[in-house]
């Protein structure tokens, strides 16, 4: 398209490119240069985005497993989607997590971020401490939480007992398993907090001073100054939060497997998935189990296509704000 590499003497910076008059040979060389930078990524997009998406749609109309080749079955897999009780449970669990976990994490990040933004000095050590758990490998963090919230003798219920509260069964209770996962997600809220903190520190001080002069109290200042100023970051956090929660897999699989106390093999999860009573059985978990443990690869692709449609719809919200999102030069 335009020319930033051509060393045209006298061309003013930002002047319209002299594309039409550029000799073909020069243009070809330029295109080859660009290609040398971007070609691997383009191949990557084709191979790891384009191909699997198309293949997924095709496979969703076929029946096959890891041994037998795909065999066309028309809409049979898609029809099964309607009668599959697992997909209903799994989608409901994932929806529950989206509705509770995403706002909880945003609220947690906002509160800790607001607190840290108030410190003139000494925020460093707090910031590090709040942030560190976000770094813990998810498997390790999940194990830590299943241990902490062990019913009976776990530290949390032991401490609750000393103040006379009988703690719930947490990861071993169908009602409390998902809320326990939310607590785990809040423990790792540090990454989002850092993003919120940066946005909060970017809000011009004069706006607060002006609002204070107008007699706005703290809450009014927050509503009228802070929220609008950080709204792009809020949108970003909401969208990426939903996307992350749509793929919520590791913590649910590990928590179920460890809390059930059953021996599993191969990092195996199929015998324990969803424990207790499928309360932690998320949509991606079902996709994995249906495809790779039950060998219903055709049906797994139906689940994949549906997940893709949902994810792309959420991403579209973000892309509509493309300009704000990607910077000013688009």
């Amino acid at each position: 398209m335009a020319v930033s590499t051509v060393r045209a003497p006298g061309r003013l910076p930002g002047a319209p490119p002299a594309r039409r008059t550029m000799p073909r040979r020069v243009r070809l060389r330029r295109n080859l240069t660009v290609l040398s930078f971007i070609a691997p990524a383009l191949v990557g997009l084709a191979l790891f985005l384009g191909y699997p998406l198309l293949a997924s749609v095709y496979f969703s109309f076929t029946k096959f497993d890891l041994v037998n080749p795909p065999e066309w079955v028309g809409l049979r897999n898609w029809a099964f989607l309607r009668d599959d009780p697992n997909v209903r449970t799994a989608a409901a669990n994932t929806l529950w997590l989206v509705v509770v976990m995403v706002p909880a994490r945003m609220l947690g990040a906002m509160c800790t971020g607001l607190l840290l933004a108030r410190f003139r000095s000494g925020a460093g050590i707090y910031r590090t401490l709040f942030y560190l758990p976000a770094l813990a490998p998810p498997v390790a963090a999940t194990l830590a939480f299943v241990f902490m919230f062990k019913p009976g003798t776990g530290p949390v219920n032991t401490m609750l007992a000393t103040v006379g509260i009988e703690g719930p069964l947490w990861f071993n209770s169908p009602e409390w398993a998902k809320p326990s996962l939310v607590l785990l997600a809040l423990w790792g809220v540090g990454d989002l907090m850092i993003i919120f903190l940066a946005a909060l520190l970017d809000v011009p001080k004069q706006l607060y001073e002006a609002a204070a002069l107008d007699g706005a109290n703290a809450w009014q200042q927050f509503r009228a100054v802070t929220l609008p100023a950080i709204s792009p970051v809020l949108l970003f956090a909401a969208v990426t939060g939903v996307i992350q929660t749509l793929q919520y897999f590791t913590q649910a699989a590990v928590a179920a497997s460890v809390a059930s106390g059953q021996a599993t093999t191969g990092g195996g999860i199929s015998s324990t998935f969803g424990y207790p009573e499928k309360s932690t059985f998320t949509y991606p978990l079902w996709l994995y189990v249906a495809g790779f443990r039950y060998g219903a690869l055709g049906y797994a692709n139906v689940l994949a296509v549906v997940l893709f449609l949902v994810a792309i719809a959420v991403t579209a919200i973000l892309l509509r704000r493309f300009r704000a999102f990607l910077g000013s030069d688009q």
Partner: protein, 270 residues
């Protein structure tokens, strides 16, 4: 003054809450197996040999080696392909650039489970399932999130520096290597660290490709499968959990500043 005390009290209380799980993990990791099943929170006797026991019970060095190979190679390969791609998206003008950027964002936002089955079959055809290569080799073609992150960083570098290099006769590759890369060091460091930690912490990928082949397991996979025959031995499991967390914490403390900068960068400043 009152406000000062109040803020610090809240912050200290929160810090304690964030630290509590690790505190109890450490205590339990020194207990006997029997004591770790009681509600005693403080060890009645200290057993550092639990950590030795973990090494004896599991091929931990093997897991550590696999995880390190995965994380280091994935990071190096990612940088090789993603830095030039990000440069082309940020600083070169060409047909289809916006479209490519949209595709990159879509790929970044795509849950990995969507493409799992076709990609698994592809790697199975190439005979690479049962190893970590299906997670490492794609990085030679770049990683969507890293490309996006690097691109966000590179657009903030003023064009004047690049133009100066071009006038001095640097080709585009020369400009990238000699002028842009030195200026983009924090961005590159952040992208590298994200990739490293992503690979280090990854569970889904190794589970998918290596669950049948224990010799290729990573720390996360090994930890998730760490069980004694009868019951969960919490004293050993907590020790193993802490050993898995340790490398990440060490790396963080050595590179804290770049890391925090990097997280901020992902937050997309409008």
């Amino acid at each position: 003054m009152l406000l000062f005390v109040a803020r610090h009290s809240v912050a200290i209380a929160l810090s304690l809450m964030f630290l509590t799980p690790v505190f109890f993990l450490v205590l339990t990791s020194f207990m006997t197996a029997n004591q770790s099943l009681t509600s005693n929170l403080w060890p009645t006797s200290w057993h550092p040999e639990n950590y030795v026991e973990v090494f004896a019970r599991t091929p931990l060095p093997r897991y550590l080696l696999n995880t390190t190979v995965y994380a280091v190679l994935a990071t190096l390969f990612m940088l090789l392909a993603s830095v030039p791609a990000a440069y082309a998206l940020a600083k070169l003008r060409w047909h289809g650039r916006s479209l490519t950027l949209v595709a990159i964002v879509c790929m970044m936002m795509l849950p990995p489970q969507v493409t799992t089955v076709p990609l698994y079959l592809m790697w199975a055809d190439w005979g690479l399932t049962g190893s970590l290569w299906p997670l490492i080799l794609p990085m030679l073609l770049g990683d969507a999130f890293s490309i996006f992150l690097l691109r966000q960083f590179l657009v903030t570098i003023p064009d004047e520096y690049l133009d100066a290099a071009r006038v001095d006769g640097c080709g585009e590759w020369g400009t990238l290597v000699r002028v842009v890369l030195p200026m983009a060091r924090p961005g590159v460091a952040a992208a590298a660290m994200f990739q490293f930690f992503y690979a280090w912490n990854d569970y889904y990928g190794p589970l998918l490709y290596t669950s049948e082949n224990e010799s290729a397991w990573t720390l996360s996979l090994g930890l998730a499968s760490f069980r004694s025959l009868h019951a969960v031995q919490w004293n050993l499991l907590t020790a193993a959990t802490l050993l898995t967390m340790l490398p990440v914490v060490l790396v963080f403390f050595f590179a804290q500043k770049a890391f925090v900068q990097g997280v901020t960068l992902t937050g997309v400043k409008g």
